[in-house]
Subunit: 469 residues, 4 copies
């Protein structure tokens, strides 16, 4: 029996290929899909079926792309119309050699969500695995907010039913294979265990221990961010995304090209580290470090204007381009040939922004001319505490709240490490804030250097307390 998990790094999207004898099936393939064909070739197998557990929001699905070279059949939940593939219903089964895949309808995250039960009929009628899509994750369950605020309660109730009537009744020893892992934007707090089981989740996943009422309340009040690109993904994945055939080729651009491209609206994305960016960058460029691209691109980059990358040494851009393709950014165009040095060798304007270490901030904490901006997720801020006096705007929402930020102060932006702080710094610089500093290490470095974080209540209390005489 073939079983392999193919992970899309950082995006934390899991796909699976299973097979027996000469046949294989793929579950939730990604768009850069030759990897599945390569596994099948190594095993001497043919991919005959491709399953989509649901109409994903966070990446472009790969089933159409993979169906082209393999000729496999595409199968998805029947409760919604797709522009491609075949709808399947509760209880339908599919054979892959001696394996059998049975469809469980598990609506909640989306209405057409399905889970897939895998049995090895040559061994037993007991299920060996369940591919739970975005219904059940390790330590978490699927989001129920994406269909809109007014349908949230209903979606949460559906999800509760799917979990408790379909998935949790499976034997404890059933291995759970969800569509996402830790770090995904599709879950609040997905745990980072690579594999889990029904039994382990029943014991440890606190959402499963809640009563239906508690569960629905919790889900209705959950605060999750929705990157704007989700809307594009939903549309593409419903209609059937454009075929790319292969990864796009990145064109080299000279420093001079960059200038003229920018004039015509090109989006320059600096994929270097926070210190590289702060030390010098092309004016008005967005800084998202290379490993943050899948998580933050979708907030800041549009799908029309060409995208050009800036790096120091242009290493491993072939991998970087995958992040764009997986999110549907087929407008990725090229990169600055020769790296950032090609820019500054031309005598082009170089901008800098500030970097502070925790002690730098600690010394200036009472300086009224600084404005501390926390760009972490609100949950993170509330749970971990914050630097006294700091204001909060989530990095993904920063462009919509620029008017809340004073223009005449030194803006000290921070996140939990320093990368998202650098994204925020680049956005502030781009919108004309003249004095922006990123706190290197963020709250993690701040705590490690033994500076305090406070909670909202304490701060309020402190502020309202009568000042000591």
């Amino acid at each position: 029996m073939l079983f392999e998990k193919i992970k899309s790094d950082i995006l934390a999207h899991n796909s699976y290929i299973v097979g027996a004898g000469a046949e294989a099936a793929v579950i939730d393939p990604r768009r850069d899909c030759l990897v599945y064909a390569a596994v099948a070739r190594r095993e001497g197998m043919k991919i005959t079926q491709i399953f989509e557990t649901h109409k994903n929001e966070d990446y472009v699905i790969g089933s159409r792309e993979l169906a082209r070279p393999t000729g496999a059949e595409i199968l998805h939940g029947a409760r919604e119309e797709f522009g491609f593939g075949t709808g399947v219903r509760e209880g339908e089964t599919f054979s892959i050699g001696s394996l059998e895949i049975e469809v469980l309808e598990t609506p909640g995250h989306t209405v057409e969500s399905i889970s897939l039960l895998l049995r090895d009929r040559s061994v037993s009628d007991d299920p060996l695995m369940v591919f739970s899509g975005d219904a059940l994750f390790a330590g978490d369950v699927g989001r129920t907010d994406l269909a809109g605020e007014n349908r949230r309660r209903e979606a949460s109730e559906m999800l509760h039913a799917s979990l408790h009537q379909k998935i949790l009744p499976l034997p404890d020893g059933t291995i759970v294979c969800p569509a996402h892992g830790a770090g995904s934007v599709c879950g609040g707090k997905i745990s980072d265990r690579e594999y889990t089981t029904i039994g382990y989740e029943k014991t440890t996943n606190e959402l499963l221990a809640l009563s239906k009422k508690e569960f629905v309340e919790r889900k209705v009040n959950e605060r999750l961010y929705e990157p704007p690109y989700f809307t594009v993904m939903r549309r593409l994945n419903k209609e059937g995304p454009p075929l790319i055939q292969n990864l796009p080729h990145l064109r080299p651009y000279s420093a001079r090209d960059i200038r003229s491209l920018t004039d015509r609206g090109a989006q320059i994305v600096d994929i270097r580290s926070p210190t590289g960016f702060a030390g010098g960058h092309i004016p008005r460029t967005l800084n998202i470090w290379r490993e943050g691209l899948p998580l933050y691109l979708g907030y800041f980059v549009n799908y029309e204007d060409p995208i050009v990358l800036v790096d120091d040494f242009n290493l491993d851009l072939d991998h970087v381009v995958r992040h764009f393709v997986r999110l549907g950014y087929d407008n990725i165009a090229g990169y600055l040939a020769g790296g950032f040095a090609a820019w500054f060798k031309q005598g082009e304007t170089v901008e800098r922004s500030g970097i502070w270490s925790p002690p730098d901030l600690a010394e200036n904490l009472d300086d009224p001319s600084i404005y501390i901006l926390d760009v972490r997720k609100i949950d993170h801020r509330e749970e971990e505490g914050h630097i006294a006096g700091s204001h909060h705007i989530y990095v993904g929402h920063l462009e919509d709240h620029l008017d809340e930020i004073p223009e005449d102060k030194r803006i000290v932006v921070h996140c939990d490490v320093g990368y998202k702080g650098s994204i925020a710094a680049s956005i502030l610089r781009k919108h004309g804030f003249g004095n922006v500093t990123n706190l290197l290490g963020g709250t993690t470095g701040w705590k490690a250097a033994n500076y305090p974080l406070v909670k909202e209540e304490e701060e309020k209390r402190a502020l309202s307390a009568p000042s000591p005489m």
Copy 2:
């Protein structure tokens, strides 16, 4: 949490790397061990511990090799003296970031065998996984015959106790990670599921359903082959195998070199397919197709004389060399440069052997001048049936039973597909049998072509029945 299974292909040896935070541990590493370091680097982790679940017999362990570049600590069961590392006892625990590994002493397969329980303390006190070494496999349990016939009963009793007192009491949802998968010489009938759980094994693994008495009887009577190289492995893995630093470099040899090397005892291994070998080969060479090397090398190749490979196009020899290294064949020396064509272009003697398809054999089944030799495992022969009139010698034992084979007949050798048949054909040719033919397709092709297989009893019955008038 990092969790990755690293499989040694064909050998069906599983090793694992787990980690959390900045630390990682490796369980049962193989000798070509840079793969673990590469995974750790990708994750930004340091390998701090290496566990050996037992003193393996089927491959050279990699713990010493991996300890060199990583500085990690080696840990193994304390019930036997090793020439390296530190012995650990029941209940000892080790932290890897937020993970905890607890030692379970699970003797049986060997006396010092341990299993390792993995918990994620940041989540729960329940175990998430158990690394069961050669105690519990998917669908099977460890061999108990390797310590010698006279200790087999005792070993089987110990294994039963280890399974029922230590491993099976774990929660059903615990994921089981054994040291071997399907195809390994370390188990009779290991199932090919990639992952399993305590619950699934309890339901489906028939050995676990036996009473203690039944279990011991079954294990005591189990017929398994023991390749002679196991003896070397046991010694090396106890003392600590020689360090190789890296894979050996294969030297190119000319056709002329081959001749003089052979005169000095070199072992020429032809890694081509059965038809390639039959169509023409260097006289007196052993044919083991490239994917059969890990399973059959250990029966036929010694550890002293240099080993030289013959292929058609010398493709991917860097992978082939790993099979030798994993089995401790550091005497792997080189390959015939230019491939087999370099041999026949020199006008060197080329030998051929015969190839038959099922119809060829069917037509000649009653010919008294042929001698049909079945070289499959005895279990396989008995369970599947055999070609009427065929004799049986397991391929691994062929060299010890040559005197049973008539020299004046056409020997039609077969296995289940044709590869092991070709090994056998090469051995017969090497020992001077002049008329040897391999049945292409073996019993699989035979059955597919609708020819019958018979069972021993039926055959006896048929033979003893009064012949019809």
Copy 3:
């Protein structure tokens, strides 16, 4: 200065990338063209120009393919209409950083052929290199037969003029970079030196020492084979070949699929070695060993019916597929999953053909029931001599001369090594010849084993001599 030669293996096609500063040019790119873009990226350069020295006959040109992702300009000789690019004339120059490329019109091989002179203007006005296309090779000059018999004299005269008036007057120290190397079907006897110079060619290339008259006579009487696929190449390369974007994906086919595909006309190409093929093969399949594909495909495989590959272990098929793409075989469809074993495991019919070593033939040389067929090039046969009594049909022409071959004899086919002999054997088997044997080692092995080759004249003399009493 960047200078790199990119060779298409076996096809012996040379292409070049040169560059300086931030710009690069490519000369005669192949169709699988990302390699040029990768070199340019490594150097931090942009490909700005692509030159075609002529409308090639032996491969699909890559300029259109490469222009797509790079945006580079395509330039070719102006004396013929192309369906793409821009025509250039004698003396036009192009700057690539500090480099200069000057066009020399050098008709002869084709009427629109150009050579390109490379100068480094930052160093000297002397040319450093000349890209001589198919005008001048190491040790040879271009073919003049491809425009048709009636235009051969004219083409040869043009080529002589191009060589003596344009190329040879260049300084002796000019490095010559031709479009083909040894083994190419585009030259009779191209030498295998990787680089050469005007000076070295003037001294050693005997064609350059001929008077104009001698030269034209030599060229007019030259006997070269023209694979039929040249016609397709000429048309594609004139119109602009279809874009492939990337290498095609090979589909896995089962043994069963192969059968039904064959019924519908699919072309099964067995890429194994002669002994592998002889030992057993799928009936009616063509055997071209993997390294012979670029040279012999074009004689036997059509551009319409799907092509399916058969190998033993399916190694490195991603490279094999390039050979098809370079020759325009976009109908390459897939491969037999599981290799040839998948065929014989199904109990499918396996055919065999014969293999003989030189002594086998020597012993049977006088047997009237054998028919020895030499399939080498006629030049090779005449220069090296032949096995007494053998008949000659070039392998590429075999299908047109089947009626010359007796059906009731054992056909012993041979070439110089054994590979082309196996192609011929497969064709004979395909056309129903029942008794076909390939001479392993061919004339090379024959000579090495000290058997004689005779020349045509000697043989005639011997035959006409009064037989001794």
Copy 4:
């Protein structure tokens, strides 16, 4: 004929593999030498000879390393004792298939230097190529200063004789293959042409046009830098360098490890870009950007204390480690796991240095509190001119001239681009200079931004001119 140039990037060291038939020879192999064996394997050849044209100073020679797995013979000039290999003399010849290599003794650069003449005897007695070692380069000739000041004139005279009596008399069409290309520390102004010829050099290499007297004067007065590691290389390459078998494995170190390693003398090398370093770095670390390692390591890093790398994303460290190995730095130990972020997340002290753009400097040019330090090569400074008022210390000599630099000023350091400026900045910071700023773009950016460079004379004149009233 096989001919391939293997370049060691950045070091600009050229080695060559040539072969014919089944044999190959390697000239001047590098220490990470499996690449030659891989080429030979691809060609079906055996490496039988390894030639060292001279006892190199700039890298560890690879002949002993390559002899181990190949069994090839090592050959070098006989005029000096080596600790390994066999000395060869003028006129000795070696066969590699149909190729012939003839030894020319060409002393000058070193006393035992040889050049190698390659002929293809199957074609002609004319030489096809000359491997000129460090005697003749494209556009330059070998250094004659390395044997010491007092032997410089003698070495220069020898080199002149070698060039004019041995190499230049070769036919113009002979291809010249030198041991180094542009950028090498072994030549002052080696041109960047990849291939050249005797004819082209005779016409364009101005050193060859000088009279003997002029030549010797020029060489005696040439100003070249000698990195201190040359001494180590000379010793190793004479005795025979230690065998490494394979590239060393880099250990991951945590931020905590780094601190304790530093306390024990470890050398931390930050391989990031100038802006990355300036934006934040570990205190007292050396910054050499990854591509500058081969050229600048040898000035600053010792051969005893362990070396640890710091990067942002730890990309492609397997390539980086080669630079260390090629220069004999077998004390390369590891890298900071998790990259520089692992440092600042721990709340560890982060230091910053300054970055200026050309306008920043232009505005402050008259500020008496800044000290402009030019760290380019002196030739470069003199030929291109310098920023008015700047002081000069070559980056490689900076540590010996720290007392010339005022401690109370802002030191604005610059080179021609910004990378070597960052090396210098890191050294100044390491030695306690508190206010150090690197000019991004260096003189290249300065000129591109239209700011003036002055020549020494002009500046003196300007300074001495009576100030205008």
